[in-house]
């Protein structure tokens, strides 16, 4: 820039390329860091997937090679053919989705109230909403099982959903509250000025802007429900979720099954996160700037 504006008659000063070089290095550094973080996250998944689809003999080889010497699907198929594995997968999906819907249905309004209104005991409420996580699930689930038995909803997906919703409520409320805070009140007021009712204003302006936060909250909820074992194991007998049905016993299974089970556990959660990803990116692009 300085070179162009200077008069052409004089000798040009040497161009200082240092800042440019620095910038290049920094960019390369950022790229390298991105690659390193991606590898850090992806490599274990790749290895689990490779191991899940390799033969038993290949797993026992010592020293182990990076890419297994033979591929086989027999562990995976016998894992999936196990009694109740596929229905349990279905139950897990049902419980996960119901829990997401229920916890957003109840948690998001609570988060909105925390963000928009001041009321007596607000701080205490924010603290006590976390209390349900302070009690171990073992302590909670036994009396709950008795109650569900008496109400006739024991051993049903809905009973597990209720427990998971209660467990997910604190994170849902706190995450959605922080998102609603970041949506400016002006937008809502403008909508009111143009004739929206209060509910309409929320629906048409606040909710679309808060969508990324709701997506983040739903990912937390889904993964929590997907991984929960103890409550699901005590509250069900013949309609189990995947962790309660098979995954709890993986630690004592042969290696081949651990990889197959680990793979089965990872994939649906990854798919869910991939679906929710566009809303999350939206959040990083807008609200968290």
């Amino acid at each position: 820039m300085t070179a162009e504006t200077a008069s052409t008659s004089r000798v040009l000063p040497p161009v200082d390329r240092a800042p440019l070089r620095r910038r290049k290095w920094r960019r390369a550094g950022v790229q390298a860091a991105c690659v390193a973080i991606t590898l850090f996250m992806a490599l274990p998944l790749v290895f689990i997937a490779l191991a899940a689809f390799s033969g038993r003999a290949a797993l026992n080889e010592f020293p182990k090679s990076l890419v297994p010497s033979e591929f086989a699907v027999d562990t995976m198929t016998s894992f999936l053919a196990g009694t109740g594995t596929v229905p349990a997968l279905g139950n897990s999906l049902l419980v996960g989705c119901y829990t997401v819907v229920l916890s957003l249905l109840f948690g998001a309004p609570a988060g909105y109230a925390l963000a928009r209104h001041t009321f007596r005991g607000k701080d205490a409420y924010q603290l006590f909403v976390l209390l349900v996580r302070a009690l171990p699930i073992v302590v909670l689930s036994v009396p709950l099982a008795t109650m569900f038995l008496n109400f006739g909803i024991y051993d049903k997906v809905v009973s597990v959903t209720l427990v998971h919703t209660a467990l997910a409520m604190p994170t849902t409320v706190l995450i959605t509250a922080s998102i609603f805070v970041s949506v400016p009140t002006d937008v809502e007021e403008a909508a009111r000025v143009f004739g929206c009712t209060k509910l309409d204003a929320v629906r048409r302006t606040v909710l679309p802007l808060a969508l990324p936060g709701l997506a983040a909250a739903s990912i937390f909820t889904f993964v929590l429900s997907w991984n929960e074992v103890l409550g699901a194991a005590v509250l069900t007998l013949g309609h189990r979720t995947l962790p309660a049905q098979v995954l709890a016993s993986l630690a004592e299974s042969p290696q081949a099954y651990r990889f197959a089970g680990g793979f089965a556990l990872v994939v649906p959660a990854l798919v869910f996160i991939a679906v929710m990803r566009r809303y999350l990116l939206n959040m990083w692009g807008s609200t968290l700037r």
Binding site: G90, A145, T146, Y154, T236, G238, P254
Partner: protein
């Protein structure tokens, strides 16, 4: 704009109607999905058990149930903690949804206060099956009546490959080892392998090393498990284990099932649960031997894992469950269980000629352990249910500080004994074998 007559059914009302019916359909789908999909496989009587939880074992056992019992059985597995929780809550809510309970002795013992039906009549009907008297004694759970029918047994053994057997100290027989012989053997194996140890222990996070401490080292050296926890003999036992550990494969702290390390060639001598060793002789027949555990100054301490079948006090199918117990107590059914999941029969059973050599070997080694003149039967902790992990942790912590951390043995045992005593005081349980079972609560001397 709109015609007056048609204003009743505008586009908006139609759309609202569609939206409402879609919501209704959604709610209906939700309601129908409330129960979820059945994961039991069929609708027969429910057999709730803590055994054979891994998918493969569970499938083999379901297959066995189909062959030995004509009606359908839903085999449902559960971890120890939830198992007891479920039995108690369903009983207390008067809505028992299972007909038969299966578990190791320690899973059934906590249910003796009203949750199990007496099994004396059933045992009488079964007649003399040749169940070892010490197991029938166990089934009494410290009372005068029996509460379950012993079902299968397992134990812990040594495995060694043929090369390692050649390194035995001269004049020592491999099936009559003492702990000092074992140490000499581990040293000889290390020297023969370029000073790299060949003896392995399952000391990984999910390994069963604590069972070695509770059922083998302590009984063999001190004659007890809890009462002798901090005795002078216990100090000697820990000194011994330190020496043995110095001759162990260093990656023992990552092993969970020794068969994997044995097959991979990382170790040639190992101690573990027989079900966690048996794959080695199965995949490499002719290379591996399974041996009874060594004996110490007080005798041959061994741990028996005894599983039993119990009838719940309230049952939705008492007759079916009784028939199922009878079917599972036949010699042929128990041999099939040995074939399927490597659990040994408790009834008198002739082992068939076509039995896998690996299973025959483990059956013989377990028998040799139990039948030894100086055998000391030890049990995994009884009556602790989900708190058992805390007793396990006491033993594991001792191992970590004394053997791995090199801490002072006397002071470590004293401080861990206090932790153990506090736990036993809270639980108020009587001791279990090899400690005397008398008295209301177990005490560390």
């Amino acid at each position: 704009m709109s015609r007056p007559g048609a204003s009743r059914i505008s586009r908006r009302t139609v759309l609202r109607g569609i939206a409402a019916s879609a919501a209704g359909a959604g709610i209906a789908a939700f309601a129908s999905g409330c129960t979820g999909f059945a994961t039991t496989g069929n609708s027969g009587l429910v057999f709730l058990s803590t055994q054979f939880r891994p998918v493969e074992e569970a499938e083999r056992f379901r297959e066995l149930l189909r062959t030995v019992y004509p009606a359908e059985v839903s085999y449902v597995t559960s971890e120890e903690g939830p198992f007891i929780g479920q039995v108690r809550t369903q009983h207390d809510a008067n809505s028992v949804q299972f007909a038969l309970l299966g578990g190791v002795h320690g899973d059934l013992a906590p249910l003796v206060d009203g949750y199990l039906a007496e099994a004396d009549g059933l045992l009488g009907e079964l007649g003399d099956l040749g169940i070892p008297p010490e197991y029938l004694d166990l089934a009494k759970l410290g009372t005068r009546r029996s509460w379950y029918v012993p079902w299968a047994q397992a134990s812990y053994l040594l495995a060694a490959d043929e090369d390692a057997l050649g390194q035995l100290p001269p004049g020592v027989r491999e099936d009559e080892l003492s702990y000092d012989d074992l140490l000499d053997w581990a040293i000889a194996a290390r020297r023969a392998n370029g000073n790299r140890p060949r003896f392995g222990f399952p000391a990984g996070p999910a390994g069963l090393l604590h069972r070695f401490l509770q059922g083998y080292l302590y009984p063999s050296f001190t004659g007890g498990q809890i009462t002798t926890f901090r005795s002078p003999e216990a100090v000697r036992a820990w000194e011994y284990l330190r020496e043995l550990w110095a001759n162990c494969v260093p990656s023992s702290t990552t092993y969970e099932m020794m068969q994997e390390a044995l097959v991979a060639g990382e170790a040639t001598i190992a101690w573990d649960h027989m079900a966690r060793l048996v794959d080695a002789p199965r995949t490499q027949p002719g290379r591996w031997r399974l041996l009874p555990a060594p004996r110490g100054p007080r005798g041959l301490g061994y741990m028996a894992v005894v599983t039993g079948l119990g009838l719940p006090a309230q049952s939705n199918d008492r007759a079916g469950a009784t028939d199922l117990i009878k079917a599972l107590s036949t010699a042929s059914a128990q041999v099939e269980l040995l074939r399927a999941n490597a659990f040994l029969p408790v009834v008198r059973a002739e082992l068939p000629d076509d039995l896998e050599p690996a299973l025959r070997m483990s059956a013989e080694a377990v028998d040799a352990q139990r039948a030894a003149d100086d055998a000391i039967l030890a049990l995994p902790p009884v009556g602790l249910a989900e708190r058992e992990g805390e007793v396990t942790k006491v033993f594991q912590d001792c191992f970590r500080s004394i053997v791995l951390g090199g801490a002072n043995i006397r002071s470590t045992l004293d401080s861990q004994a206090r932790v153990l005593q506090r736990l036993l005081d809270e639980l108020r349980v009587p001791c279990w074998a090899p400690d005397p079972v008398t008295g209301a609560r177990c005490e560390v001397a």
